[in-house]
Symmetry: C2
Subunit: 233 residues, 2 copies
């Protein structure tokens, strides 16, 4: 079947995201180690994020709240409020930074936009994602934007139904096997995996759980136009 | 024109929300007055929320972050981290509380659902709103859910376009003149205002800026079915 609709993930597919979390997390580690030199700060923050995921969901505000809670617990309440104010500032900085596109994204999307209907499909904080898209300058290239709280079979099914898309004419492009590849291929669509330099452990999928077909991996966005033509035969 | 689609606001229209913010804010005031007895805690928190709105958007996580920042600034960094942990706990409590429906909501919606297509149109935090809807038990009554970061002319236009709704066949039901009434009536739709016991000052609209027609006010949800029939002539 010919490809008609191409879905794109946002974070770490079109623009940098995880490296910003990593940079902040390194600052957080350094701040905390001044108070608790023996602590495994990264492990404790990661545990806290997982514990809070079902209450807060994804995004920078959730990350900020989890950093503050980790800092208080690791120091047994001894961290001065002024240090917590610094953490609040990191969160705001992350929310206000300009959207930094990955290499070749703008050119490739402009090249593809005439041939396929393009959808942006991202998860996370609604306000933050809309703000990033607005600052990216890419908004007009997409026929629609879907921001979902979790990318799973149900949420893709909802998008297909609402927009009258049949899975066979759909390709999803993203950096996460868990969110962009597995659910789409399970539904009978195709997927293109473009790994990012850093992967959040939460998005990792063991090899044996990956679908054996229906998806391809490319190294950079610039390989996408040719691949889409090949898939569309 | 006959009414075909009825949009419903969620917070303080279908379920209680603002009273929960008020309850938490009273606890916050009491906590802070122990440290800074002379402070106008409510005014300072409100200023902080407005200052942070363009960075954080709406919702409980934003409110929690603004409470923490206000507490640190009002005490000039002297508030103990253990008190800030209490504030974090209030935020989580708000996010986990059961969804408490307003009087007569469930019965009225069930009565209306057969006659009109019902849409839930709420603003705020995506994850929190989806979670509240899921816990409300009302999900199946709606043909769709639209969670937007701000309810204004552009966002209603987007919903009308995406869903093929003409404004003349649409009625919006909600407690906020600013978010539920003014933009819809401006676009040529109709609106029903059901005031809630508490109105966040941010949602207030001066009388002289209200449209002179195209909307009606009722006291409780139970008056809605008859009004919709009258509007639909």
């Amino acid at each position: 079947m010919a490809i008609r609709v191409v879905g794109f993930d946002g974070d770490d597919t079109l623009w940098h995201s995880e490296t910003r979390f990593s940079v902040t997390q390194a600052e957080f580690r350094e701040l905390l180690l001044r108070h608790v030199p023996e602590a495994d700060v990264d492990a404790r923050l990661s545990e806290m994020e997982m514990k809070n995921l079902s209450i807060y969901g994804y995004g920078v505000k959730s990350f900020t709240l989890s950093m503050i809670e980790t800092a208080i617990q690791l120091t047994q309440g001894l961290i001065p409020a002024s240090d917590l104010e610094v953490i609040l500032g990191w969160g705001k900085r992350m929310l206000m930074e300009p959207t930094e596109l990955l290499d070749r994204v703008e050119l490739t999307l402009q090249q593809i936009a005439g041939r396929y209907d393009m959808l942006l499909i991202t998860k996370g904080d609604l306000f933050d994602q809309e703000s990033k898209l607005a600052r990216s300058g890419l908004g007009d290239l997409f026929i629609g934007v879907e921001i979902v709280s979790e990318k799973n079979i149900e949420s893709y099914q909802g998008i297909f139904r609402r927009r009258g898309i049949s899975p066979g004419e759909f390709v999803m492009v993203g950096n996460s096997l868990r969110s962009d590849v597995v659910p789409v291929v399970t539904l009978g669509g195709q997927a293109v995996h473009i790994p990012y330099e850093v992967t959040w452990h939460h998005e990792h999928v063991p090899d044996e759980q990956l679908p054996s077909q229906g998806w391809r991996r490319i190294a950079t966005m610039s390989e996408l136009p040719a691949l889409l033509e090949a898939l569309s035969v």
